[in-house]
Amino acid sequence: METPATRTRISLNPLRPLLRNPVALKELRGRMRGPRAFVVLTCYLIVVGGFTTLLYIAGTAATYNTTGEVDGGTLGRVLFGSVVAIELFLVTFITPAFTAGSISGEHESQTYDLLRTTLLPERQLVFGKLFSALAYVFLLLLAAIPLQSIAFLFGGVDVEEIVISLLVLLATAIFLGNIGVYYSAMTHRTLRANIMTYVTILAVILVTTAGAVIALAIVEGLDPSTSSSGSEWVLLVARGIFVCLNPLTTLLSTQQYLVNQQTLFTFKYTFTDGTTTTLPSPWIAFTIFYLLLSVVVFFATTRHLKRIEG
């Protein structure tokens, strides 16, 4: 009979080193076994595909230009932007659902003590849980790339934009996954971990959106004759922070700079007094900030799990 060991020896799977993490292997096996994984993926694609179709129908009607032809570039961008927005929405909902039960579920099913008395390092436990959940989210994102790529048929969208949108979506998923596992480790109760994760996400979205809008309103209302460039800098940075903390505003403003200034990595900002400055594009700040924050949250989770019950 073929044993698991003989199978691994001939395996050319590039993910093999990652699967040496026992938790990741176990979780992936459990997640992909049975119809659930297939059903979730299918539903996800139906939702994203359905929206894309609707947008296409609505878009072709709305983007007729003056010569009576469909404006392909605009339609392409609208379709692309919409697919990314839907994906962002789904990732925001799905990732916490996959991770908020990761550690608390072990408590609830009375398997945590068994794990804790093994030699498994805490970081491997956290990483395994995170990796298996995110691997599935990545699968969802990759599966939707063909839908994003429909925009190519109409023009107006470059490969770089798909790569950037994927990066922002991945950074979002990684951060949300870490938040989910963090609360899961803190509470011992999956329901509470879920609530805390969603409340945190909602707070981030509300605060950043409101902050960005307010900062923008103040900048727009500035009187060039009275404002100093110093105060404008403060406002610019404040607005930048709010914009770059929110994946949706990050994507929108990145797209805006890309369309208006044709630059991918930087953008030029013109002050009210006419001087200009060059700043990094929001997606760079967003991705770096959330990946760093993810690392911090990851270590906080590990640290918490290392603590022995007093």
Binding site: P4, G30, Q110, T117, E309
Partner: protein, 352 residues
């Protein structure tokens, strides 16, 4: 209540017994402890406090290497708390605890390497096959991938689950899950097994299977430290016993020594058809008799309890003294100083 045959006691119907001829077999020989001073588990003044509740106070546990140590006490006496400290799951409030010479506080990793732990309540993962379950835990214990298939087969063979290798874990019966969990604790070949109520909630057959497995493991050189509130389990398979009550160790040591220490006198119950005074008179001439007590009559027959010290020869002399005078003896039997009596004597019934 007799505790000599616990299985019959807890069998709800006769059917279970009929299906399990194994129940009537002779108890196997227990392993012997070579050195009583070579302690593999040791606690010194171990204490645990939950808020205002003192769960364990100044507990000095001493488990020699190779022992099957029964940790007995009523529910709530502090057994599980002690075990959670020994398995590095909980910090003690005071005192020290060592396993295999490693402190549970300062060297938890070495302690985990030395122990296999089975909690009183544990879950199994759904969506997992039996071999995958063991493979997972073997990986958690850092067993190299190439060694795992052979190890898994050996473990399944040992706990008699080889035929369920590819079944889903959650489809197993309670007893099988318990055995699987025991196999799991053995994955890294630990020197000590810490088992919290390993036989609780099992049917008589499963309990005996676990019991035999424990004896087999002890013969393989493993020290077994297990808790129980079922004295019969302890009586039959332990070499050592510790009795805990209200967080304090009330007695511990080799089981034989404990019996002698707590029950130094032998007790004989004699049933007569009559001539009580003559019988008492005859018995008083035998050496070693400490006292004679009248017991309430049963079915109109007179019963007396005789406390004495000494060898079996004394009993023979007593019987001779009675029969030589023609006193009608219908029953003459020593009351075994069983563990239940030891337990009742040791504990005060503070927690029950």
């Amino acid at each position: 209540m007799s505790i000599d045959n616990p299985e019959t006691m807890e069998t709800p119907t006769g059917e279970a017994l009929a299906e399990a001829p194994i129940l009537t077999e002779v108890l196997p020989e227990l392993p012997t402890v070579m050195d009583e001073q070579d302690l593999i588990i040791e606690t010194r003044n171990l204490s645990k406090r939950y808020g205002r509740l003192q769960a364990i106070s100044n507990l000095n546990l001493q488990v020699p290497r190779g022992a099957i140590y029964g940790f007995v006490g009523p529910n709530g006496a502090g057994k599980t708390s002690t075990m959670r400290i020994l398995t590095t799951l909980m910090k003690p409030s005071g005192g020290e605890a060592y396993i295999n010479g490693y402190s549970v506080v300062t060297a938890p990793r070495e302690v985990r390497r030395s122990i296999g732990y089975m909690p009183d309540f544990f879950g199994v993962y759904e969506d997992m096959k039996v071999w995958e379950y063991l493979d997972f835990f073997a990986a958690c214990y850092e067993i190299p991938e190439a060694q795992r298939p052979g190890l898994i087969n050996d473990l399944l063979e040992l706990v008699d689950l080889a035929h369920r290798r590819d079944d889903m874990v959650d489809k197993l019966s309670r007893g099988m899950k318990q055995r699987l969990c025991l196999a799991r604790t053995l994955a890294h070949d630990p020197q000590v097994l810490i088992l919290d109520e390993p036989a609780s909630g099992l049917d008589p057959r499963a309990r005996i299977e676990i019991r035999e497995l424990l004896i087999e493991l002890a013969k393989m050189g493993k020290t077994i430290f297990f808790s129980s509130h079922i004295l019969a389990d302890v009586n039959e398979i332990c070499t050592h016993i510790g009795i805990i009550e209200a967080g304090q160790m009330v007695a511990q040591g080799p089981i034989k020594a404990m019996r002698q220490q707590l029950m130094p006198h032998r007790v004989l119950v004699i049933t007569l058809l009559g001539r009580l005074d003559e019988a008492k008179e005859a018995l008083l001439h035998v050496e070693g008799i400490l006292g004679i007590v009248d017991l309430p009559p049963e079915d109109g027959k007179i019963r007396i309890k005789v406390e004495f010290t000494g060898e079996d020869l004394r009993m023979s002399e007593m019987l001779q003294a009675l029969t030589s005078k023609g006193i009608p003896v219908v029953n003459f039997a020593e009351e075994s100083s069983d563990l239940e009596a030891v337990f009742m004597k040791a504990t005060k019934g503070i927690v029950s």
